[in-house]
Symmetry: C2
Subunit: 326 residues, 2 copies
DNA sequence: CTGAAAGCGCTTACAG
DNA sequence: CTGAAAGCGCTTACAG
């Protein structure tokens, strides 16, 4: 590898006795250039370690080779684990497409909106991945109103029609319940959800309800409040029959599990959460979790945003569903 | 706010009967332009919602207004919580300086190095923040050999001399120990560390040792292996006197705490870890943690990298030390 | 199949 | 204090 910091297409053109236009086209594999010239240029460019200047290219094309990733404002810190795995999947796929990853993250919706606005109008970024999907969110609205493409992680609420990546949460809810019943002979699994009513929660609950209905088991659903524990304790006292828990996410599951053990003098109960976000050192053997493969979700998001050859395979689908596993 | 998507300095120049050069200088607050003209241009630019084109600016200046953030390859997922908080602090400060945040993250050192190389040679990024500081790391070496500035999170090992942000880990180790002794009347605190021997571990241990020496308490140090628990159990059995734990980080502390409770029939012990990474729902009231203020650390890293007016205050210091709190 | 030229939107040395 | 011009490194319509 030689010193490449100064090599431009003009240098290559001069050296090979070609014009700048021809070298540019050859490097972009333009079929109008003879195969022989294309190869000549490519080989020479490789040899001298030519690296295209993204700023020049983006200025010409009026479009950045970057994807803007938008973090939620008020998330639970535990979700950060999931987000970073998403980033890993996204960046890997982005690199394959010679794209770059830019981040919008902040403490308030205003600061995130500032970042995003700047990315669009100053950075000429035309593609975004949003790490949440709440309808009515001002950042999503901002992006939706701009002439850019975007994908959310998570299905939008009914009525909205943007690109998204998600899991089959109904099936995942059923699978989690089935897992408990099959492996631990659970008779009275409860479904624990948050009070937010996110779409993924509803789907997981539906999966739980459908399975229990099919098996003739009486369902039981409880919404766990974010802050206080009194009602949780009461609920646990009222339902001594509970021998298994399907929780809408790991955090919620852990919260319930802690109270359950306190209320039952350390007795355990089998729990299944979602996200596989807690390292095994932080939980015990009674706590299980559905792996949603965040890296795969990140990759799928990029595939939706950056058109590949294989894009045709997917046709007009506005979403990608990623597998899960327990 | 009017339609700003097409406003360039040329448009402003034409409208105001000025030259492009003057408008450019006025917007950059160049003192060679009269105050009156500067204000005129600024006000008109604001009115029409002018947004500078970063690609054009970066092409001209041969330098991107971006900071590249480098993630470690093999980290514990629990650390992701800390990293995202760092990102929040970094991005906030970056936005103030009209900088953009770019990410290099991958599964292997090779893929991270590819990202970083591309950022440097194609993206013209000249500033990096690295989320770790292992001397000998190939990514750090790559960056160190390039004509760019960088800051690591964490002090480099002895002999290296790059910019960094860190906490006063020796004092933090002493403070954590003091906290246990003061609040829980602990007589036999043990220090638990990993087998990696990171610089921050050594400093925290030193703080612990110095304090215990000062107080005339006999110290006890144990390295907890990453994978197996046998030696941990044995250690616990050999030291029934242990009534408090200072752990090198939350993860290590939690690992020890779990084994301790198993080995002592559920009996608790007071633990202090570092990072404040575990939400209180996941730990109990006996588990404490030193907050290292990752947002502040992120901000400090940006300040080291992007020269501000107040830069002079710091003089030639090659690092920033951020407070901690327990 | 290849080239000369214009243009993307900035900054800045040079000139006045 | 202000301006005309060159240049950053690309892509692409137009021409041959």
């Amino acid at each position: 590898m030689e010193d490449n910091s100064l090599v431009t297409i003009r240098d290559i053109a001069n050296k090979l006795g070609l014009s700048v236009s021809t070298v540019s086209r050859a490097l972009n594999n333009n079929p109008r250039i003879s195969v022989k010239t294309r190869r000549l240029v490519r080989e020479y460019a490789d040899k001298v370690g030519y690296e295209p200047n993204y700023n020049a290219r983006n200025l010409t094309l009026q479009e950045a080779n970057a994807v803007g990733v938008v973090f939620p404002v008020n998330e639970r810190v535990i979700d950060n684990i999931f987000y970073v795995e998403l980033l890993r999947g996204i960046n890997k796929q982005l690199n394959k497409n010679n794209f770059v990853l830019s981040i919008a993250i902040g403490d308030t919706a205003e600061s995130v909106m500032d970042s995003v606005s700047s990315m669009i109008s100053r950075g000429k970024i035309k593609r975004f991945i949003i790490f949440y999907s709440h309808a009515g969110d001002p950042v999503i609205k901002l992006i939706d109103d701009a002439p850019v493409d975007y994908v959310t992680i998570g299905k939008p609420t009914h009525g909205n029609n943007w690109l998204y990546v998600d899991n089959d949460n109904r099936k995942a809810g059923a699978d989690a319940s089935q897992f408990l019943i099959d492996n631990f002979n659970i008779k009275h699994p409860v479904f624990i959800e948050s009070t937010f009513g996110w779409p993924y929660e509803e789907d997981r609950r539906t999966g739980y309800l459908e399975l229990l209905d099919k098996l003739g088991i009486k369902p039981l659903v409880f919404s766990i409040p974010e802050d206080q524990t009194d009602s949780v304790d009461e609920f646990i006292k009222e339902h001594p029959e509970i021998d298994g828990v399907v929780a809408t996410d790991d955090y919620t599951g852990m919260k319930f599990y802690k109270r359950f053990r306190v209320m039952n003098d350390g007795r355990s109960v089998e729990v299944v959460g979602f996200n596989a976000s807690l390292p095994k050192e932080l939980v015990d053997e009674h706590f299980h979790s559905v792996n949603l493969f965040p890296k795969e979700m990140g990759k799928a998001a990029v595939d939706l945003l950056v058109k590949n050859d294989q894009e045709q395979l997917f046709g007009d689908q506005r979403f990608r569903i990623v597998d899960h596993e327990i």
